[in-house]
Symmetry: C2
């Protein structure tokens, strides 16, 4: 027996209520031009039959789906998840649905099928929430895509004529470094993220620039490249302590790696922050409870995600007005410094948060 869907249609409602489908349509769309009695009768039939208008049919005729395509990568990690969470909240608020596509790899650059799938379902806009890694954004700006809908990128290097929303990673790095320098650390090492990541390069550039401006020599032995994972953090820590003997502190490009650095330093018998200061990046929920608690740079991924959704909806709605279009722009949000025990040398160890270094 073929599956039978017990979904009532506008036609059934109309026939039961003894009106035309047109009138039912007016009722469900809350148009004013229906007499109160008719409206009431139709509404009753709707409730009775459990009638639910088909968003599909509506999208087809209105050429508008009220749906956003979201492309993510790395949902198994906390950063991308927090971003998706923000996207979902903002979309819900604006009454948009979400069509989700997860890229299997960060390096994915066969993006045609993704767009095909999204466009064939008539999404009104696309949020590209995939970090910029290697050449995985090389296609941006190419018009080969025949893209007739707005596209907003999350966390990518700003480009002309493209809408981008991102945390300012360079600024975050500078904030971390300013803090360490203020605490009197000078021989600051760095464990970077994988350098094919734009974010990793930004953080590292901040480390280098801050040292140079402070008049500190930067040598190749003063940093090591990690891959974001705690495992790589452990390996990097070992290598870095080996090749930078009189290092007094480390700026670690994320908290997971910083966790391993703490562990490694503990095992070596080094005191934190007296012998070695540590600053991380991300402010994952756990870092407050590391021992010692980790000083880090907080990114509000939830917030930039909401911003991105609001931006794309603004662009979409503008496309339906007679008004002028919304120009693509880059929105860069500053992160904030969260000072905890791991970097507070020679002062009383209270915890406090500074929102900006200005």
């Amino acid at each position: 027996m073929k599956q039978r869907l017990f979904r009532s249609t506008i036609k059934e409602v109309a026939s039961v209520a003894g009106v035309s489908t047109q009138t039912v349509s007016r009722v469900i769309n809350e148009r004013p031009d229906v007499s109160p009695e008719t409206r009431k009768r139709v509404q009753e039939v709707i409730n009775e039959l459990g009638y639910r208008p088909s968003a599909l049919a509506r999208s087809l005729i209105r050429q508008r789906s009220h749906t956003l395509g979201v492309v993510t990568a790395g949902l198994r990690y906390i950063g991308p998840s927090r971003i998706l969470s923000g996207i979902a909240a903002a979309a819900e608020e604006a009454d948009y649905s979400l069509l989700l596509k997860e890229l299997p790899r960060f390096h994915e650059n066969d993006i045609e099928p993704i767009f095909q799938a999204l466009l064939s379902r008539h999404v009104d806009g696309i949020i590209w929430a995939v970090p910029e890694v290697g050449e995985n954004h090389a296609w941006v700006g190419e018009s080969k895509l025949h893209l007739e809908i707005p596209l907003v990128y999350l966390t990518m290097e700003p480009r002309e004529n493209i809408s981008v929303v991102s945390i300012d990673n360079y600024l975050g790095g500078r904030m971390a470094m300013s803090h360490l320098l203020e605490q009197g650390y000078r021989r600051i090492g760095h464990i970077s993220g994988p350098l094919d990541w734009w974010e990793a390069r930004q953080r590292m550039a901040a480390w280098k620039d801050a040292l140079r401006e402070a008049g500190v020599d930067v040598k190749d032995t003063h940093w090591v490249e990690g891959n974001w994972s705690s495992t790589s953090g452990a390996q990097s820590a070992e290598k870095l302590f080996e090749q930078y003997k009189d290092m007094d502190s480390i700026f670690v490009a994320n908290d997971q790696m910083a966790l391993s650095v703490i562990r490694f330093a503990c095992q070596k018998g080094l005191r934190i922050p007296e012998d070695i200061g540590i600053v991380g990046f991300d402010n994952i929920t756990e870092s407050e409870f590391f021992f010692p608690a980790l000083t880090t740079i907080q990114q509000d991924q939830y917030d930039i995600a909401k911003l991105a959704v609001e931006e794309i909806i603004k662009i979409i709605e503008a496309g339906w007005q007679e008004t002028e279009q919304v120009d693509p722009k880059t929105i860069m949000l500053p992160p904030s410094l969260v000072v905890r025990e791991s970097s507070l040398r020679g002062k009383e160890g209270g915890e406090f948060i500074r929102k900006s270094i200005s």
Copy 2:
């Protein structure tokens, strides 16, 4: 100017290629009954115009969208994200799209609008990936929903005639307890999750049962209720050490709280695992790098998510065959014990994984 979508239709393709829309339809659906020349010509026009069939129109006429609705809660946490990640991977593989709805709260029980939104978009099935908390699943089984499509639940207490896929939390708790008992610990305390969570109750029941079976007295002072967060872990640890003076170990209901317990014990000068043994639950990526590394119970959320998707697709497809229906069933997956430093008392501290305690 009203937005103009440069989307070509099957009609345009047909007219340019000089055939009927029907023939184009046959080509894009790879039907055999088209002559090679016609097929070639049509295909060329398709490429030329960048034509993309509308999945919307297709769904409407086929009464099938090849789309799954996914309802989640707590995407800002890592567990739900890993589940979503598994769902996305499995859906992609089966060539299904995903319509995502995130509940704003775990306790949400106004679920009508969620179903409305999903059903109005003609999803073929729904995966309910919201943990069971308080009465938030009370509606399950009520047929008021007029649900004409399959529904599979993730992580909920098994019920008759419902499809459920879940990790066996009770078994996980028993595995943790068996391990502690084997290591010679007897005065085992417990920090539970919030007890309105089904999972928290399961883990706690395992703690209690294991102690009883081992002939150990269970008192109300031997456990404290946390709320999964590291913050609550710290508070709970303080309280528990206070009220259970000769406790020799703790089974903590998740790794985040366990992290705080480690921190608290360190600050008190207690040695882990000699003075106090600790076992967590979840195996978050960081727990391997805690100091000491945390013994814990691993749940493979990614895997159960894939299973849930495969199950629902099986049910959906069965609905379209002449064959009999797939009966709803409960699938319970065993977690696994990961032994690390925090519980290995008086033995050499190598790390090893046991897949099951049988």
